[in-house]
Structure formats: structure tokens, C-alpha cells
């Protein structure tokens, strides 16, 4: 299916927004406005966007420690995301969660998760609910190549296949689990190959090609909505920055040529080229998109700055549902 201009512009805009959001987050972490730890998604934008463009607001996703991109792609409000990173009361989690725990139930974003692999069975639970609801809701489970070494990955694939759950497992293989190359985790670097033994389709896709991700997701989502069960998508991609940062940028340990070669395949530049090639994007339009993203981010930061810190009296609030 060839996407029309409006859809493509929307996808490009979201990818740029995700990238610039995390570039800002890095700067704000360095400036001491954001605390704790930040795991930038920069470089992987095509995955979140290509997948989420196949979902509606009633579909659900689970995310990871590297979750800002998933949130934005699923439609979360960047002002409330930024406020959460600032630890403010208008943040999605009222300042209690921070980067690793942003959730927006209203758009079906069931939450980032600081525990590697933790989202996999939870996504199966949401998919089971979707199956019982019978309205065709699909759940997408984002996870990393490292998470595929956890038992929960294998348990979840087995359960999902056994019960034909409407779920799409999306592995973002960014070549590293934290600081170790994927070869330390897996004897064979082919996450999609795990699908066959669990009797589901497994597809490897160029995770820096948003259109390829989008197309592969279409097949998986259609299958899930039809009631035919889960699929596993392995999106091969790369993170441009460090695994995680605190007060300072950690030193780069990956080979410079490797980083350069992946940057040459920048997913945003590739979509731009595609659009320019189809005469769907002029330099002026691109500039306008970038300007608008910049303005939205300024506004998000201002919103976060203006939001108060939580009241310490609310420490025990939200402990139990009432």
C-alpha cells in the first residue's frame, strides 16, 4: 500500500518529534532539570512510528526503559511527558514515575518498564483482555534484543501462541543490550528465528526503514485482529547515543565506524528522501515541520517548568485503589 502525503508527513513529523524530544531530554538532564536516568531512543524512531501508525487509540502497547519514542508514537502528550521527566505534579505519573515509568492509559500506552522483559507477559495479559472483549483490539509489545534472553520472552511467546492472543511482539534489535553486543546474549543473532518453534510467523525487517516496518506491522496486526494469533517482528536498528545517562554522558565504547555506518542509514533522512523522491516534501515543508516540532518542545519545556513539584504530603497518595 502506498501511503499518501498526509500519512507520510504525519509519520515524518512524529519521527522528528521523537528525536528532538530525546535530544532535548539529554540536554535537560545535563542541565540538571531532569533527574535519574535517561535512555535515549534516538536512531530507532522508525520502529515506534512504523508500528504505531498501524494502531488505533484502542490498541495497546507495552514499552521498556527506552520508552519515550513509544509514548510519543502512541499519541501521548509531550507536555505531560516532559513534566514527568521534570518530576512535576502535572507529569503523567504526578512526578512519581520519571522516565522509566511513563504511562498514558488514555491512549493505550500501558507503561514503560524499568525491568528488562517485564512488559512481555503484561502485554499478553492486555492481549488476552482484548481477545475476551472481542472488539478487535491488538496489543503491541516493544522489547529489546537483550530482553529476548530472559525467560519471560520465551514464556510469553509460548503462551501467546498457545492461546492465539492478538499480540505483536516487536523486538528492537539495536545490536546492543546495554553495553554488550548482541552476540554476548545470543548464540545466533536472529531474534525472529525464535518465532518458528512457538508456531508463529517471525519476520526480520529493516528497522530504519519506517515504510518497511509499517508494512510488516500491517501483516502482523491483520493476523492478530483476525484472531489468528501472535507474530514476532524483529526490527534491526541502532541507537545513536549511549545506553543510558545520569549526570554526564558516558564514554562511547562502540566502534566509531559502526556508529557512522548506522548513522548513514538515518531513518529520518531515509523517509525524507523517499518523500522528496515522490515530490511529496519540499524544503520549505520540511523546515516548517522542524520549526513546529521545535516550538512544541519549547512549549512542553515551559509547561514542565511551570508545573509545581509534588506536595510531599502526597507521598502516600495512590498507594491503593479506592
Amino acid at each position: 500500500m502506498t501511503l499518501d502525503k498526509a500519512r507520510l508527513v504525519q509519520m515524518l513529523r512524529t519521527m522528528i518529534l521523537i528525536r528532538e524530544f530525546d535530544e532535548r531530554a539529554i540536554q535537560l538532564r545535563l542541565a540538571g532539570k531532569i533527574y535519574g536516568t535517561v535512555h535515549p531512543y534516538v536512531g530507532q524512531e522508525a520502529v515506534a512510528v512504523g508500528v504505531s501508525a498501524q494502531l488505533s487509540v484502542t490498541d495497546r502497547v507495552t514499552s521498556t526503559h527506552r520508552g519515550h519514542g513509544h509514548c510519543i508514537a502512541k499519541g501521548a502528550d509531550i507536555r505531560r511527558m516532559m513534566a514527568e521527566l521534570f518530576g512535576r505534579v502535572d507529569g503523567y505519573c504526578k512526578g512519581k514515575g520519571g522516565s522509566m515509568h511513563i504511562a498514558d492509559f488514555a491512549v493505550g500506552m500501558l507503561g514503560a518498564n524499568g525491568i528488562v522483559g517485564g512488559g512481555l507477559p503484561i502485554a499478553c495479559g492486555a492481549a488476552l483482555a482484548g481477545q475476551l472483549e472481542g472488539k478487535g483490539a491488538v496489543t503491541v509489545c516493544f522489547f529489546g534484543d537483550g530482553a529476548a534472553a530472559e525467560g519471560e520472552f520465551h514464556e510469553s511467546l509460548n503462551i501467546a501462541s498457545l492461546w492465539k492472543l492478538p499480540i505483536v511482539f516487536v523486538c528492537e534489535n539495536n545490536q546492543y543490550a546495554a553495553n554488550n553486543p548482541v552476540g554476548v546474549q545470543h548464540p545466533r543473532v536472529d531474534i525472529a528465528a525464535h518465532a518458528a518453534p512457538y508456531d508463529m510467523p517471525g519476520v526480520g525487517v529493516d528497522g530504519n526503514d519506517v515504510l518497511a516496518v509499517h508494512a510488516a506491522t500491517a501483516d502482523a496486526v491483520t493476523r492478530a485482529r483476525r484472531g489468528d494469533g501472535p507474530s514476532l517482528l524483529e526490527c534491526k536498528t541502532y541507537r545513536w547515543h549511549f545506553h543510558a545517562m545520569r549526570a554526564a554522558r558516558p564514554p562511547e565504547t562502540r566502534p566509531a565506524e559502526e556508529i557512522a555506518s548506522w548513522k548513514a542509514g538515518d531513518p529520518i533522512a531515509r523517509l525524507e528522501q523517499h518523500m522528496v523522491g515522490r515530490a511529496l516534501l519540499s524544503p520549505d515543508e520540511l523546515r516548517a515541520i522542524r520549526d513546529r516540532v521545535g516550538a512544541e518542545l519549547d512549549e512542553a519545556v515551559a509547561f514542565a517548568e511551570a508545573s509545581p513539584f509534588p506536595d510531599p504530603k502526597d507521598l502516600m497518595a495512590d498507594m491503593f485503589a479506592r
Binding site: 535519574g36 514515575g97 520519571g98 518498564n113 524499568g114 525491568i115 534472553a149 510531599p312
Partner: protein
């Protein structure tokens, strides 16, 4: 004595034990190539090679079980948890196997295993990455649990843990890795498990505290000294076995006690120590034992909420004043 950081002291202990005993090996996430998420295993891969410094997949239950099996048949694994929060994924292996195998097998199997890594509150890492994990372990019969507060203790206790024939849970702290202190260079320097230490002598009140809380209690004690309150601080160092004799001995002298712990207080270390004191030294007490604990909530992200959740110097000083019936100044 040499002055070194807590991190270096741990590294030295590992290096010495790896050198002393060929059955010792280190296994965990990023312990080799990356030299440890917190650099505790720096240089070890180079020195001891990949057979003894083993990088694992992200599979906590799996590699902990590997450690248990290897220990059962004669090796002495040191399993690193990247942070102790992730040991929750390995809880079954630790509780149902490591802790029980010696007993269940009628003494046939030893499990000389150390599981080590940082735990406890960090800096605004929020609920899943800032947990006082010791409570999950010291309740389990068959496990020893160590919380070393100083570089010297880090070295001496880690060596004791590695030489111990039982599973030892050894929880460090991310916030202490850069703390410097004197550390004996003698490779036979070992601090036996189950020995508390008096960190500061005093006569009016005993404060039991470990790790970051011990340092905060020391600050509170300095401040209270100006008001004429003399605080004795006991650091248990190992929570299981717990050196109640040293704690009780101190309370018999001071007649008052405060227990500080970072984690939530319900059924925590404070409850245990307060009970021990009450059972053993009730007649020596001039006041009820007080606890200063973290709030019964997960660790929130925002700094001011984190502070509200955590025992601060002020909260500790306040509790000490209360057991001394001293409001403000005396």
C-alpha cells in the same frame, strides 16, 4: 593500610580471592567486557580470562541457577547482580534452591555461592531501581545476608563471604562506591560474618544503622553532641547472622535504642532488632525502642518525594531526641 574507594576494595577482594582459589569465578551481566556496570570488576577479565570472568545474557534466574549448580559440584561462584533489584527475577532459585539445598539434601550439598551487587536507594531512579532488597532475603532460613558500609568492611566481608560454604547475599550500595577509607592490604584480612562493629562510642543512646543510614546517623550524632547527647552507633554489617550480643551490650550501657533502616518499616530490620532488645534487655531500657524507617510506599521519582520517603538526618536526630526525652536542647 591503603586508602581506597569502596569500589576498589571490592575489586581487590575479588582479585585476591580469584588468585587464591582457582574454584572462584565471577559471573553476571557485563562483568567482563564492560568491566561491570559500576566497574567493580574492572581489569578482571584481562587478568583472569573469560573462563573465570563470565559475561552472561540478561537472564537473572538462569545465571543464578548456573551459579547454584556450579557451587553444588565444587566451584565457588560470585554472581553479580547488575543491581539487586533484578535479583527478584532469580528469587525462586535463591530461595527454593540456594537457601535450602544443604538442608534438604541432608547436608550432602554445600552451596558456596556469593550473590553481590548494589542495592538500596539510589538517586531518583524511582520505584523499580531504588529498593532495600535485604528484607527479601534475611527472612529466608539458609541465607546469610551482608550489608557492608565501609571500604574496609567491603573487602573483609566479601572475602569472608567467598570463603563461606553457604550462600551469601552481599548487597552493596551505588551511593557508597566512591566512598574512600583505609583498607588493609593483607590478603588474609577477613572480617567474619556475624560481627557487628561500634562505629562511634556514646553513653546516652544506641543507634543501630547500616549503609547510607549509618552515615546519616553519624551526622545526626555529631549534631546532637553539641546538645550534650552522646550517641553510640552500632553497624550490624551482617544482618543474617545478626550479632545481637554487640547490640544488646550497647543497649545495656546506654539504656535507649533507635534503629534506622532505609526500606519500608513493616516487618523490617527495625522490628527484628527492637524485638531482640525487648526480649533480651527489657529491664535495661529507659524508653521504648524507636524505629526510623522509609515510608510504606515505593520509592517515588521526584526529589522532594524521595526525601519524604527516606529517613533523613533530621528524622534520625528527632527520634534520638525523643528516646532521650530531650526536646530541642537539654
Amino acid at each position: 593500610m591503603a586508602v581506597m574507594t569502596y569500589r576498589e576494595a571490592l575489586n581487590l577482594a575479588l582479585r585476591e580471592e580469584l588468585t587464591r582459589d582457582p574454584n572462584v569465578f565471577v559471573i553476571g551481566e557485563e562483568v567482563g567486557l564492560y568491566e561491570g556496570a559500576y566497574k567493580v570488576t574492572q581489569g578482571l577479565l584481562k587478568e583472569f580470562g573469560p573462563k573465570r570472568i563470565v559475561d552472561t545474557p540478561i537472564a537473572e534466574s538462569g545465571f543464578t541457577g548456573v551459579g547454584i549448580g556450579a557451587a553444588m559440584v565444587g566451584l565457588r561462584p560470585v554472581v553479580e547482580m547488575m543491581t539487586f533489584n533484578f535479583a527478584l527475577l532469580a528469587l525462586d532459585q535463591i530461595v527454593n534452591s540456594a537457601a535450602k539445598l544443604h538442608y534438604m539434601s541432608g547436608g550432602q550439598y554445600n552451596v558456596p555461592l556469593v550473590i553481590r551487587g548494589p542495592g538500596g536507594p539510589a538517586h531518583q531512579l524511582a520505584a523499580q531501581h531504588s529498593q532495600s532488597m535485604e528484607v527479601y532475603f534475611y527472612h529466608v532460613p539458609g541465607l546469610k545476608v551482608v550489608r557492608p558500609s565501609t571500604p574496609m568492611d567491603a573487602k573483609g566481608l566479601l572475602k569472608a563471604a567467598i570463603r563461606d560454604d553457604n550462600p551469601v547475599i552481599f548487597i552493596e550500595s551505588e551511593t557508597l562506591y566512591n566512598v574512600k577509607g583505609e583498607v588493609p592490604e593483607d590478603p588474609d584480612f577477613v572480617i567474619p560474618l556475624g560481627q557487628a562493629v561500634v562505629r562511634r562510642e556514646g553513653t546516652d543512646v544506641t543507634v543501630v544503622a547500616y549503609m547510607g543510614m549509618m552515615y546519616r546517623a553519624m551526622e545526626a550524632a555529631e549534631e546532637l553532641a553539641k546538645d550534650g547527647i552522646s550517641v553510640e552507633i552500632v553497624d550490624p554489617r551482617s544482618l543474617q547472622p545478626l550479632d545481637t550480643a554487640t547490640i544488646i551490650g550497647s543497649v545495656r550501657k546506654t539504656h535507649r535504642a533507635v534503629v534506622v533502616e532505609a526500606g519500608a518499616g513493616f516487618a523490617g530490620m527495625g522490628s527484628e532488632i527492637a524485638t531482640e532488645i525487648t526480649e533480651e534487655a527489657f529491664d535495661d531500657l529507659d524508653a521504648p525502642v524507636l524505629r526510623v524507617t522509609g515510608a510504606q510506599a515505593p520509592m517515588p521519582y521526584a526529589r522532594n518525594l524521595e526525601r519524604a520517603k527516606t529517613p533523613t538526618k533530621e528524622k534520625i536526630a528527632d527520634a534520638i531526641r525523643r528516646v532521650c526525652y530531650a526536646n530541642g536542647s537539654r
